[in-house]
């Protein structure tokens, strides 16, 4: 007979053993999963098979701003071609670029074009990175001010709000353009993103170009001279809804979805333009496209263009290890930029790319090669 204290000891020991074995197996798992990186090819979930109907799964990661559109695209595309499964993790542009350079994904996505230092880290055996714009969006000033519908902000006004020199809503600079609106003497609370984000990049790029007194530069996160920081688009939205007399910046699609009031802004030509995908698309019409597609229009010249816009890019490898994956990737991009795909963009508040850009993008796609079989 085994007495009870002894059996307790057995139980403890066996559970401890199980733990040890469990830890051991965890360790070995991580080593096996990291080994494909060393071998020098992008993560391949399926082995090379001919394209004829075999299942193809593609994984990507990156920017969160276009994520709602990408998810819609991928699921619609999967309905059309059930053998192609594309997964996307919206981990942020920076993380997307990092994973793309580390070859742990099949494609990356970013709101800020690749920098030279990123290109230097690109794996040489995979040719040249292909950076193509997929869509873009407007960044709007969303505000919470009772009784003030259709607030108009001149360049002087919004520059002053952002740099903290305009402190109350009834400031003469704001009042000048809003004769019909009753502006209170309440303080203005400016709300900005506290986390690094592509939205901030687009917003500060414009502010830097449009405001002579702006000193903080532009980037995914900057040193804000004033205001309250909130995390994520949803954080800014919540803060604007919560705080009377607040104004913050978010993506147009976000403000639309949450029913926030959006300010009408004055563009470079001096016209006041209400935010919309059409007015945003006009910013990119007729602008010369650089060779790497890193097009940024910080302050559009067009008379009827909305002033704050940015593009977002997909990052593809110049060479894919298997034919099926390369073909599937190309086919998807062609579909997404066709009229059928762009319909989803407009529905969600993203701007459909002008034709002159999409033709260039489709030509660039053909440069993607398949690595010679080893």
């Amino acid at each position: 007979m085994i007495s009870s204290p002894n059996s307790l000891r057995w139980a403890c020991l066996t559970s401890a053993m199980v733990l040890v074995v469990g830890l051991g197996s965890c360790g070995s798992q991580t080593t096996t999963s990291s080994s494909p990186d060393a071998s020098g090819s992008p993560a391949t979930e399926t082995t090379a098979k001919p394209a004829g109907g075999a299942d193809i799964s593609i994984s990507g990661a990156g920017a969160s701003f276009p994520a709602p559109l990408y998810q819609t695209w991928f699921s619609e595309y999967n309905k059309k071609f059930p053998n192609v499964k594309i997964s996307y993790q919206s981990v942020g542009s920076g993380a997307g670029v990092k994973q793309f350079l580390a070859k742990t994904v099949d494609f990356g996505a970013t709101d800020a074009p690749l920098k030279d230092e990123d290109r230097a880290k690109y794996p040489k055996e995979l040719g040249v990175p292909v950076q193509i714009p997929m869509t873009g969006g407007a960044v709007v000033f969303a505000y919470n001010l009772e009784g003030a519908e259709g607030l108009k902000l001149s360049r002087e006004s919004y520059c002053g709000i952002v740099d903290g020199s305009i402190k109350t809503w009834n400031d003469a600079k704001i009042a000048k353009d809003n004769s019909g609106v009753k502006l209170p003497a309440d303080p203005i609370t400016f709300i900005h993103r506290s986390d690094g984000s592509g939205t901030t990049f687009i917003f500060t790029t414009h502010i830097k170009a449009a405001c002579p007194n702006w000193k903080a530069g532009s980037g995914k996160s900057v040193e804000w001279p004033t205001g309250v920081g909130a995390k994520g688009n949803e954080g800014v939205t919540a803060q604007v809804q919560q705080t009377k007399g607040s104004i913050g910046y978010t993506e147009l699609s976000y403000a639309k979805e949450n029913g926030l009031k959006m300010a009408t802004l004055q563009n470079k030509a001096g016209t006041f333009i209400a935010p919309s995908t059409e007015a945003s698309a006009k910013a990119f019409a007729g602008v010369e496209l650089p060779k790497d597609f890193a097009l940024s229009v910080p302050d559009p010249e067009a008379k009827d263009a909305y002033p704050i816009n940015g593009l977002t890019w997909l990052l593809l490898y110049g060479q894919y290890p298997d034919q099926a994956k390369a073909d599937a990737m190309k086919a998807f991009v062609k579909w997404a930029l066709s009229d059928e795909g762009e319909k989803f963009a407009a529905d969600l508040g993203y701007l459909p790319l002008p034709k002159e850009i999409t033709t260039r993008v489709l030509a660039e796609l053909d440069t993607i090669k398949v690595a010679a079989a080893k």
Binding site: S3, R9, L13, G94, G196, E223, V228, G235, T243
Partner: protein, 317 residues
């Protein structure tokens, strides 16, 4: 062990062999886990230090005293974050320690019948299981609208004190402190209660026997006897307050300033990490690592101070 019959003599010998092997194995395995935990901590500290090295080299100790966080020009200093971490944790402890120890006293004495007492103890401990993001959302949608008018009143009547000299606009250091105090309350209450219950009954009876009132017994006998346990609970709570990320990020306002006013916005080391890590690169990452290392250091200092406090109290007893 209960030896049943005399013919089990040989079996007993066999079992004792097996049981000796068991004992050795058990010591080995538990020892391994004990050392593994320490090694993991050391490995984390080492890794963070290595990654922080470029920032340490560039900014040196000035990192702690400067208050710039400029990813555009790659200039970093974490004074506002270090300050924010200390101030929010201090506010949290200031509120949570008296309440937590009070709750623990109330629930360890025989004021209530066990039938009511047990559910209350359970409910207090349940508070610790609420995810921090829920506390954050509650902070944004319930606490901030509730606190802003109170903050405004403080600003209007006591605005001449630097502590209240900014206009509250919603999120702020005081909101973060309050949310933290609620988050750490169950830790303090539960651990303090365990420490109080563990005080030997003889001590209490001896105090009563000497003619002490309940008041005197609690404050001169029971609390000092349970002191090291209570401090242990407070330290655990402080650790959580300093390391809390999500809830604080949601209610503190994330401004890069070290304002003397608790109504102003601020940030903590943890909230800085939560905000910036995902999109950071290069020197910004190593500066974030440096900030994390400082948080490590702060926690260590606080723990050493607590240990010294416990020792000095024990010497007096």
């Amino acid at each position: 062990m209960v030896p049943s019959t005399n013919d089990s003599q040989s079996m007993n010998w066999h079992r004792s062999e097996a049981s000796r092997w068991l004992d050795k194995g058990f010591i080995g395995v538990t020892g391994f886990f004990g050392i593994a935990v320490a090694l993991v901590l050391l490995a984390i500290a080492l890794r963070v230090s290595i990654d922080a090295f470029p920032a340490i080299q560039k900014f040196g100790l000035g990192f702690i005293t400067t208050s710039r966080w400029n990813p555009v020009e790659n200039l970093y200093g974490a004074w506002p974050q270090v300050y924010g971490t200390i101030v929010t944790s201090f506010i949290a402890l200031l509120i949570a320690v008296p309440i937590g120890v009070g709750v623990a006293l109330f629930l360890s004495e025989d004021f209530l019948s066990p039938r009511i007492q047990r559910p209350i103890v359970f409910l207090v401990e349940l508070l610790a299981a609420i995810p921090s993001v829920v506390f954050g959302l509650w902070g944004i949608f319930v606490l901030i609208p509730l606190l802003t008018p109170i903050g405004k009143w403080f600003h209007e009547t006591l605005g001449w004190i630097p502590l209240f000299n900014t206009v509250p606009v919603g999120p702020g250091i005081y909101v973060a402190g309050l949310v933290l105090s609620i988050m750490i309350l169950p830790i303090i209450a539960a651990i303090s209660r365990d420490a109080l219950v563990a005080v030997p009954l003889e001590l209490r009876q001896a105090a009563y026997g000497l003619g002490a009132t309940r008041w005197e017994t609690i404050f001169q006998v029971i609390l000092p006897a349970a002191f090291s346990g209570i401090v242990g609970g407070v330290m655990l709570a402080l650790g959580r307050a300093m390391g809390e990320t999500m809830a604080v990020t949601m209610v503190i306002g994330n401004a890069n300033v070290a304002s003397p006013s608790i109504l102003a916005q601020g940030s903590t080391v943890s909230s800085l990490l939560a905000n910036q890590f995902a999109e950071a690169s290069g020197l910004q990452i190593s500066s974030l690592m440096y900030a994390a290392l400082i948080l490590f250091g702060l926690t260590l200092i606080v723990n050493i101070l607590a240990e010294l406090l416990v020792r000095s109290v024990r010497l007096k007893l």
